[in-house]
Amino acid sequence: MASDVLLDLANTVIMGILLGGLYALIALGLSLVFGVMKMINVAHGDLVLFGTYFAYGAMTCLGIDPVVSLIAGVPLMFFLGFAIQRYLMSRAFGRSMEAPLLIAFGISLMLQNLQQILWTPMSKGLTTSYALDSFDAGGMHFPLAYLLDFAAAVVVMLLLGQFLSRTYLGKAITGAAQDKTAAQLMGINTRRVYAFAFAISMVTAAFAGVFLGLTFPFTPQSGISFLIIAFGVVIVGGLGSMLGTFLGGMLLGVAQTLGGYFLGSTSQMLVVYFLVLVVLAVRPQGLFGR
């Protein structure tokens, strides 16, 4: 029945849009670090995953709900991010273009191995009671997790946006991203500002990690796919605009769900990767970028 197919497709597309919110949330931290420090943090995916495993630990060892565990997870990730930038990455900046990348690469692998040791390579999930729930609307079927992801993404993005535009530190970060030298001449200590930017990026990663875990199963190796997704969102959505990131996320989300619909669930990531490569090749500044 044509109308059934249409409804199925609409269902798939809407799910893709909701998923896109999650993807935008994952990409937020990467985008912030790139915008401010002109550096792509290749450890980003594994750091998001670290947030996921932290929530997993809280859940399995202490029985704490993953979202609640953010109360501890957020400060932890904040300090971790601050330390990584302040003591590791900043030393690498002056040296060569490869240095920050290689250090991030090393961190990425350390995290992967660490998670493997702590939690085994087996696939895990943040299986709370509500994570498995779903609801129906308009004849379509949605996992509750997707809706939660979208809501979380909107909230975090709004908060971040407000922080960057209204607080002094936020403005300093924005300014340093637009012109580092001018920022220095304003008396802004760019070293500290970079560390804060990285720390905030990690806070968004903490949120992304929890909601990712609620939505999908994960293994210690999942970090790479998170990185590729985040990178894809940043590339597709273009840099510098939160709206672009959001739209980029949704585009990738829809690509994935449609890919899964037509080609089966194992291949759905392939569609995403392919799209990323195509956009990289054709329009590296992104579809909505400057």
């Binding site: 690498a92 690469f105 090393g106 291949s267």
Partner: protein, 316 residues
């Protein structure tokens, strides 16, 4: 300088003869690994240290070549030919993806090349060109038809590949390609404006690296005896050459040699702690990048000449 290279050549010849002199098999296998790692490290050095291409694409070459070899052997092709075919497939793949990927610079290139092996990994999980379904539903292959081939034989092939990579590097760096690459590495745009075909030079580098890395990978799978997507396209194949090159000294000829020795030695030391190997490797990589980013070669040079680096004023 001549004396150093003569000594090195004699040393390498000795290494070739070792299994014939009765060296225990375990050691032979570690040496085999050394030559495999050496070839890969040299190639990564060619890409990153000399051509300015931060490639994270190595697993694609290794995996493709490995699978090509295993599949060809499965259907009866003699394994020497299969190894070469593996390299050719990897090189052809490099040409194919160079089109999208070379439009990217620096870090974009790095991540672009990161996507490729990951996509291939999923592809090979789904695709099973020859052989029936595996009992457990897995996606790997055993290496068939290698009865009667001795470990010594494998070892000598590895030796050829590893030593060959050293001489290949020597040759490239002194050729026109090498000079062109030196110009590109320092500044892409000014090189292009002085008439160098930047794309073509990078392409040569990339394809050569793909070929040799592929062959080295095929040799590895010869030794391991089975292949599956997770290991074949694993980031491990990026980590090893990076670690070896960085430890030894990036952009130096001897660096990868020393680095490969250290990495194999590390493998040997950590054999009991296999689960921790990437953790330690990652930690070493971070440590070296922070403390001695120029690698061992540079440290050795500084100790020998007992000179402290001249401070150059840099802007903040």
């Amino acid at each position: 300088m001549m004396r150093k290279w003569t000594a090195l050549i004699i040393f390498l010849l000795l290494l070739a003869a070792l299994p014939l002199l009765g060296l225990p098999q375990a050691w032979v296998l570690y040496l085999l690994l050394f030559f495999v790692y050496l070839a890969m490290a040299n190639m990564w050095n060619l890409l990153c240290g000399y051509s300015g291409l931060i490639s994270l694409c190595q697993p694609a070459f290794v995996g493709l070549a490995g699978y090509t070899m295993v599949i060809l052997v499965w259907i009866g092709v003699p394994f020497h030919a299969a190894i070469v075919a593996g390299g050719v497939v990897a090189a052809a793949f490099a040409i194919l993806i160079s089109i999208p990927v070379f439009r990217l610079r620096g870090i974009y290139f790095a991540i672009g090349t990161l996507v490729v092996p990951e996509a291939l990994r999923i592809l090979f999980l789904l695709w099973r060109p020859v052989g029936g379904k595996l009992a457990g539903g897995g996606a790997g292959y055993m290496l068939r038809g290698m009865k009667g081939v001795t470990v010594t034989h494998y070892y000598l092939i590895a030796w050829v590949v590893g030593v060959g990579s050293i001489f290949l590097m020597r040759y490239i760096l002194r050729s026109k390609l090498g000079l062109g690459l030196a110009a590109i590495r320092d500044n892409d745009r000014s090189a292009a404006s002085s008439g160098l075909n930047v794309f073509r030079l990078k392409l040569y580098s990339f394809v050569i690296a793909a070929f040799v890395t592929g062959i080295a990978g095929a040799v590895f799978y010869l030794y391991q005896g089975y292949i599956e997507p997770g290991g074949a396209f694993s980031i491990h194949w990026t980590m090893i050459p990076i670690l070896a090159t960085v430890i030894g000294g990036i952009s130096t000829e001897a660096g990868p040699i020393i680095g490969a020795m250290v990495v194999v030695f590390l493998d040997f030391l950590l054999a009991r702690y296999a689960g921790f190997s990437m953790l330690i490797q990652g930690a070493i990589l971070v440590g070296i990048m922070l403390l001695a980013p120029q690698g061992f070669i540079e440290i050795a040079r500084q100790i020998r000449t007992r000179r402290s680096p001249i401070g150059v004023q840099t802007s903040k």
